[in-house]
């Protein structure tokens, strides 16, 4: 951890929906250039944490992020039936910088094309977003976030349901971001992927159960505190079964290795 100012600093964050506490007293810091994974069972508050970081929900506690903040939402949150092509989606990432009244220029569209190229989608620039596969859509949303040129990038389940090629391309892009001293924080269900990719992990279940490296987090004792009974021991290795009904078969029973 370098001595520079934290890219993300969260102090005693609590979020309530009505009278139900969804996040309780969460505190952590993230240094610039880190790739952080946020893990936890369903309902742990991972998405809520993201929304709190984005300022979308009202929360108690202190939150500091290095601006600007780029965001990649879940593909399922996006209206795929909307008539827009991949290039148009990426251009949307430029809107805040364009401001009201102004229309995107040809340069803007060229920039969008270059970003699509970075995620390997340049040849599908004119394809309707709705006709792309899940992985392709996710890559386009990533390109859009790149257009925002954030110092911090927040991603909501970017790897779930995504094909292998898309996943590899995206991770390559994310690593590149970190190399440029930008900070990446992503929520994920995929423990194995998180272990392979992330520098640090936050284990969440309403409270912050643990924060640290793979070795520190991936012990039976720590995982049990987050996932309860859904912890699997096999050959001395530990994995967690997180909502077995919800995920694709490729994600079930992945563990360290």
């Amino acid at each position: 951890m370098s001595g520079s100012v934290a890219a993300i600093a969260v102090e005693r964050l609590s979020v309530a929906f009505g009278d139900r506490l969804v996040l309780e007293d969460v505190s952590f810091t993230v240094s610039p250039g880190a790739l952080v994974g946020v893990l936890g069972p369903n309902g742990a508050g991972k998405t809520t944490l993201l929304r709190a970081l984005l300022g979308e929900v009202t929360a108690d506690g202190r939150l500091t992020l290095a601006a600007p903040v780029a965001y990649v939402p879940q593909v399922s949150d996006v209206q795929a039936a909307f008539p827009i092509d991949a290039q148009g989606v990426v251009v949307m990432g430029l809107y805040p910088r364009l401001g009201w009244w102004r229309r995107p220029s040809r340069d803007d569209r060229r920039r969008a094309l270059a970003l699509l190229d970075q995620v390997g989608m340049a040849d599908r620039a004119r394809s309707p977003f709705g006709e792309l596969s899940g992985g392709q859509r996710q890559r386009v949303l990533l390109a859009r976030a790149l257009a925002q040129e954030g110092r911090v990038m927040l991603l909501d389940e970017p790897l779930s349901g995504v094909d292998t090629r898309s996943r590899a391309l995206m991770l390559e892009v994310l690593r590149q971001q970190c190399a440029e001293d930008r900070t990446v924080l992503m929520t994920t269900h995929d423990l194995a992927e998180a272990a392979r990719v992330c520098d640090r992990m936050l284990l969440l279940n309403r409270r912050l159960i643990a924060a640290g490296t793979t070795q520190e987090i991936f012990t039976e004792e720590v995982l049990r505190r987050a996932y309860g009974a859904d912890v699997l021991m096999l050959d001395g290795r530990v994995g967690a079964l997180d909502d077995p009904h919800h995920h694709t078969t490729t994600e079930r029973r992945r563990w360290n290795g």
């Binding site: 929906f17 008539p83 949307m92 009201w100």
Partner: protein, 273 residues
């Protein structure tokens, strides 16, 4: 070519054409937002919410359009308050509020005896009774809609496409919702005069549906819908001029006919391949 120019010799028809053209363009364009937002019920319920605003304005002796927009603002404000709890999404809160407003509006109608016959904007509109004042209001609505699209069109498209992203980018959802809802309400008030309460939804959704089948991306869709709305207005009035079909109903029938043509064309093209 007499049949083409004949209607334009009549002052009543000229005003009707002007009203239909402006209304068709505005409802067509804005209807794209209504349609794509998946709030198709918004179009229908806007008309119902209008009733509350309109009746209140009427009872207080004020301008009807102002009452309508006021009702729209109130709805968005209440919706914001509901969604602030964070348990309710915008769609859910709207789904609760709009019928409530409708009920209140109907109640007020029941209690205020003079409303039914005296107030303009009947079930099927009165496009041939359009006055110059109505045209001024329609023009103002068109200018308002145009300015909104120029000013915040791309942002409204973003909110419709990806609301969470828009929020993450820092756009004020409340304001954008109010803007869209307000402008749609104003368009609805104009359409009310031309085609009436029952057919208003058709004007908001019909051209947009047809345009969706004809275009690939958003702004061409908006332009097409506006063009189709205008076309329907003009053709409908020509039809009414030479038949016994009322103005409003004729326009809406043309809207439906255009959709049938477009949809049929698409289906035919698919079969041929």
């Amino acid at each position: 070519m007499e049949w083409l120019t004949d209607p334009w010799s009549s002052g009543i028809m000229r005003r009707a054409f002007a009203e239909a053209i402006m209304m068709g363009a505005v409802t067509g364009a804005l209807g794209c937002f209504v349609l794509l937002r998946g709030l198709a019920f918004l179009g229908e319920s806007v008309a119902h919410t209008l009733i509350l605003g309109v009746v209140v304005a009427f009872l207080l002796g004020g301008p009807v359009a102002l009452g309508a927009v006021g009702a729209a603002a109130l709805t968005v404000a209440l919706s914001s308050a509901l969604t602030a709890d964070q348990r309710f999404s915008v769609d859910v809160s709207m789904g609760v509020l709009l019928p409530t407003f409708f009920g209140l509006g109907v109640t007020l109608i029941a209690l205020s005896e003079g409303y039914r016959s005296k107030l303009e904007g009947t079930l099927f509109g009165a496009i041939f009774a359009v006055t110059n004042l109505d045209l001024v209001l329609a023009a103002a609505a068109a200018v308002l809609a145009g300015a909104t699209l120029l000013f915040a069109g791309k942002e409204l498209a973003l909110v419709t496409f990806d609301r969470s992203m828009a929020q993450a980018m820092g756009y004020r959802m409340r304001l954008l919702d109010l803007l869209l809802f307000g402008v749609v309400t104003v368009a609805a008030v104009v359409a009310l005069r031309a085609v009436g309460n029952v057919l208003l939804t058709a004007m908001l959704l019909g051209p947009a549906l047809s345009a969706r089948l004809l275009t690939r991306t958003f702004w061409p869709m908006v332009a097409s819908a506006a063009a189709l709305g205008t076309l329907a207005g003009v053709l409908g009035l020509y039809w009414s001029w030479s038949s016994d079909v009322g103005g409003g109903p004729a326009i809406v029938l043309v809207v439906a006919g255009l959709f049938a043509v477009v949809a049929g064309g698409r289906a035919g093209a698919t079969l041929v391949r």
